[in-house]
């Protein structure tokens, strides 16, 4: 574990920086708008928005990582994973809003719409912050176990004394340019059915991050080092 003081300092520093930076952005914009009406341009708006988004996103992300440095078990790792995805989405959203604003500025149509964009971006940052908080706190729901098992599948044409070696060649939804064969593990381990063992196997797939659907696949089969026709399998993830 890191020096607890260092952790505490990091924690305080991140939060203080978020607050100070965000407040400064708002104050700068406010001063410019009120101090010299008309001087706050679309370019300034985009700059403010980008700063605001960066503060919320990077600060929120850093804040969420602190517990990882204290208690690096599976629970916080899941939270960090979720936080990372939220932050990534926030970045994408912010880029779209800012990009849209930039296009309008270039086209000379932005004018007073920067307020809408700023509100949208600020709100978006808060929405994502709420999602982060949701992930950290009570959790938004019951997390499903992503590990699924299928089988047993039997190998026809193999005798008890044979050694059979299996390999998942392809696993995808029909017609979709994807292959999740790498996520499949065999039981017995390694897809090796040794001589004397039953000629049956099962598949274990960690479906985290994978779309739900019926996946069709092919298992290559080798009996005593002689290749056999592939075995088709279908699994519901």
């Amino acid at each position: 574990m890191d020096d607890p003081m260092a952790i505490a300092t990091r924690y305080a520093t991140i939060t203080r920086k978020m607050v100070n930076d965000a407040t400064q952005v708002a104050i700068d914009a406010f001063n410019k708008i009120n101090g010299a009406p008309g001087s706050y341009t679309g370019d300034d708006a985009i700059k403010s928005m980008t700063q605001l988004a960066n503060i919320a996103i990077t600060g929120g992300s850093a804040l969420a990582r602190v517990p990882l440095q204290i208690q690096p078990d599976n629970g916080p790792m899941l939270v960090a994973d979720e936080v990372a995805s939220v932050v990534q989405r926030a970045l994408t959203d912010a880029a779209e809003v800012a990009g849209d604003a930039a296009e309008k500025v270039d086209a000379g149509t932005f004018k007073s719409q920067w307020v809408d964009s700023a509100v949208m971006l600020t709100s978006m940052a808060v929405l994502r912050a709420a999602e982060v908080a949701e992930a950290i706190a009570a959790g938004p729901g019951v997390l499903a176990d992503p590990v699924m098992e299928f089988g047993p599948f039997t190998i026809s044409g193999a005798n008890l004394a044979d050694e059979v070696v299996l390999k998942m060649e392809k696993l995808a939804r029909p017609g979709v340019d994807e292959n999740i064969a790498g996520l499949v593990s065999f039981t017995p381990a390694g897809g090796v059915l040794k001589a004397g063992a039953k000629k049956a196997f099962s598949l274990t797939i960690n479906s985290a991050g994978i779309a739900s659907g019926m996946f069709q696949g092919e298992v290559s089969v080798s009996i005593n080092n002689v290749a056999q026709p592939n075995l088709p399998v279908i699994v519901n993830l």
Partner: protein
């Protein structure tokens, strides 16, 4: 709006109201109420979960969901209105009630139109209404109904009786003046007071009514799964029927037939061009309990397949080209898998239907998304396929259905875009204006607390750390983080969810 689907939803909304009441400490045994509802309707009582019904109402009024042609706002029916509609004896009565509620001409839902094929017999909505009645009876027994609901005479019985008797095809046994006159209803209500688990209810309902009723009565509930970096509500269902065959289901499985027997689907039509480059069919679904008021349009692609063992399946995902789409759905994929119950002969009686769906709707919590799926439509696809109305569609040669045609792939397909969650600029609920300031205040408080803890930590560190010190500090950090997270979440929640408004009776 007033229809069977929405009426059923309002009964679950009443449960949500009782949960909010309990969370405020209302009723005789608030902890017991929260405990039993959490068991019977998992995932509906925690932070960010309770209050889903009002969240759904907000959602129905969001731009892109609320029908722009609607005058005024979308309102959900009261429990009293819903009971009256549920107890209506025929389509004419339902049409009259809907007309009175809407103050205009309501949509021609099958349940309101003569000769539409609709029958309450084995309607899963009625079975789920009975389950809601059981939960309400349990809450009532614990003294947990809010005053407004407690004032409704025989509330659980008023829902349970038509739910059970209409579903079973014995409407003549229903006496509106005495909802507990039927012995089966009486036994179910008596048992409801003792129910401690979903399984216990399921076993009893199977014994007193039948297996299909028990299966259909249990609402599914969503679990969370990660897909492409986003957490989605995932709904799984698995149901069986001893009489129907795979070949029967095959005749009505094409999505374009769903509107004939599933209430949630207002329209499901082919898009143009009809197929993607991958060979999957492009289809636009329009869903909502009363589409004249609120609805979502989602552009999907479908693959029609055979499992090679007597079964058939549909795979679906978002269309990479969101043509005519409301843009509300960020993730929508899954399957419907229909297999022979025994063996591999699709003409043999007995069928099993398994479904899975990953769903993420922009700005809608996982709990409200699950309610949308499990109580209104998507998660009930299997039950709808086995409903009496689906059987009527199968038996009526005058009703033309679209055939299930296996997708043929040439081997050169690429389906870029499918399987990728869709994002876009966030659109937000209306009350977000003050949220940024709230978050700033929370963070400032957090800094203060962190600073205090840091000082304590430093003292311990300077004195030399022991194992117990590490444990203590870790525990303190945990508490600190928990408090911050809960505060932050409560604040965020208060900005996006309506607060419980006390009524004169509360």
């Amino acid at each position: 709006m007033l229809n069977l689907l929405q009426s059923q939803l309002s009964f679950y909304g009443a449960i949500d109201e009782a949960v909010l009441f309990a969370k405020e400490g209302g009723g005789d045994n608030p902890d017991a109420v929260l405990g039993i509802v959490g068991t019977l309707l998992p995932g509906t009582t925690g932070f960010g979960q309770a209050g889903w019904y009002r969240e759904l109402l907000d959602f129905a009024n969001r731009p892109g969901v609320r029908n722009p042609g609607l005058r005024g706002t979308v309102t959900f029916p009261s429990v009293e209105q819903s009971i009256e509609y549920l107890q209506a004896s025929d389509h004419e009565e339902r049409m009259r009630l809907a007309t009175a509620a809407l103050r205009s001409e309501p949509a021609a839902l099958p349940e309101r139109v003569a000769d539409s094929g609709y029958t309450p017999y084995h309607d899963p909505v009625l079975a789920r209404s009975a389950y809601a009645a059981m939960v309400l009876a349990r809450i009532d027994d614990l003294g947990g109904l809010p005053p407004r609901l407690a004032a409704i005479p025989d509330l659980p019985a008023q829902i349970m009786a038509p739910g059970v008797l209409f579903w079973a095809g014995t409407p003549d046994n229903f006496n509106p003046g005495d909802p507990t006159s039927d012995p089966t209803v009486r036994k179910l209500l008596k048992e409801a007071k003792r129910v401690k688990s979903r399984n216990q209810w399921h076993s009893f309902a199977a014994k007193k009514v039948d297996q299909q009723f028990a299966d259909q009565s249990l609402p599914c509930f969503g679990t969370l799964e990660d897909f492409g970096g986003q957490y989605c509500s995932t709904l799984y269902t698995n149901t069986t029927d001893d009489v129907l065959t795979v070949e029967n289901i095959e005749k009505i499985l094409d999505p374009r037939n769903w509107k004939l027997y599933a209430k949630f689907f207002c329209d499901v039509t082919a898009q143009s061009p009809p197929d993607t480059a991958c060979g999957w069919a492009r289809i636009l679904e329009t869903i909502g309990p009363e589409c004249a008021e609120w609805r979502m349009k989602t552009a999907l692609v479908f693959y029609y397949g055979s499992d090679g063992n007597g079964g058939i399946f549909l795979n679906y995902d978002l269309d990479p080209d969101r043509q005519n789409d409301s843009g509300m759905v960020e993730v929508d994929n899954g399957y419907i898998w229909v297999t022979p119950l025994n063996g591999s002969d699709p003409s043999q009686n007995g069928v099993r239907i398994r479904t899975s769906k990953q769903e993420r709707v922009q700005g809608l919590s996982p709990t409200a998304t699950a309610a949308l799926g499990c109580l209104l439509g998507w998660g009930t696809a299997a039950n709808d396929l086995l409903s009496g109305t689906a059987s009527m569609v199968l038996q009526n040669p005058a009703i033309v259905t679209e055939p299930f045609v296996i997708t043929v792939l040439t081997g050169n397909e690429k389906l870029s875009g499918v399987g990728q969650p869709v994002g876009g600029p966030a659109q937000l609920p209306p009350d977000f204006g003050h949220a940024m300031g709230d978050v700033r205040n929370l963070l400032n408080n957090q800094i203060d607390r962190s600073r205090n803890l840091a000082a304590k930590t430093a003292d311990r560190w300077l004195d030399g750390m022991t194992r117990d010190d590490v444990k203590k500090i870790t525990k303190d950090f945990g508490k600190l983080l928990e408090k911050f997270a809960v505060d932050a979440y409560k604040t965020a929640e208060s900005n996006v969810k309506p607060q419980m408004t006390p009524t004169n009776n509360d």
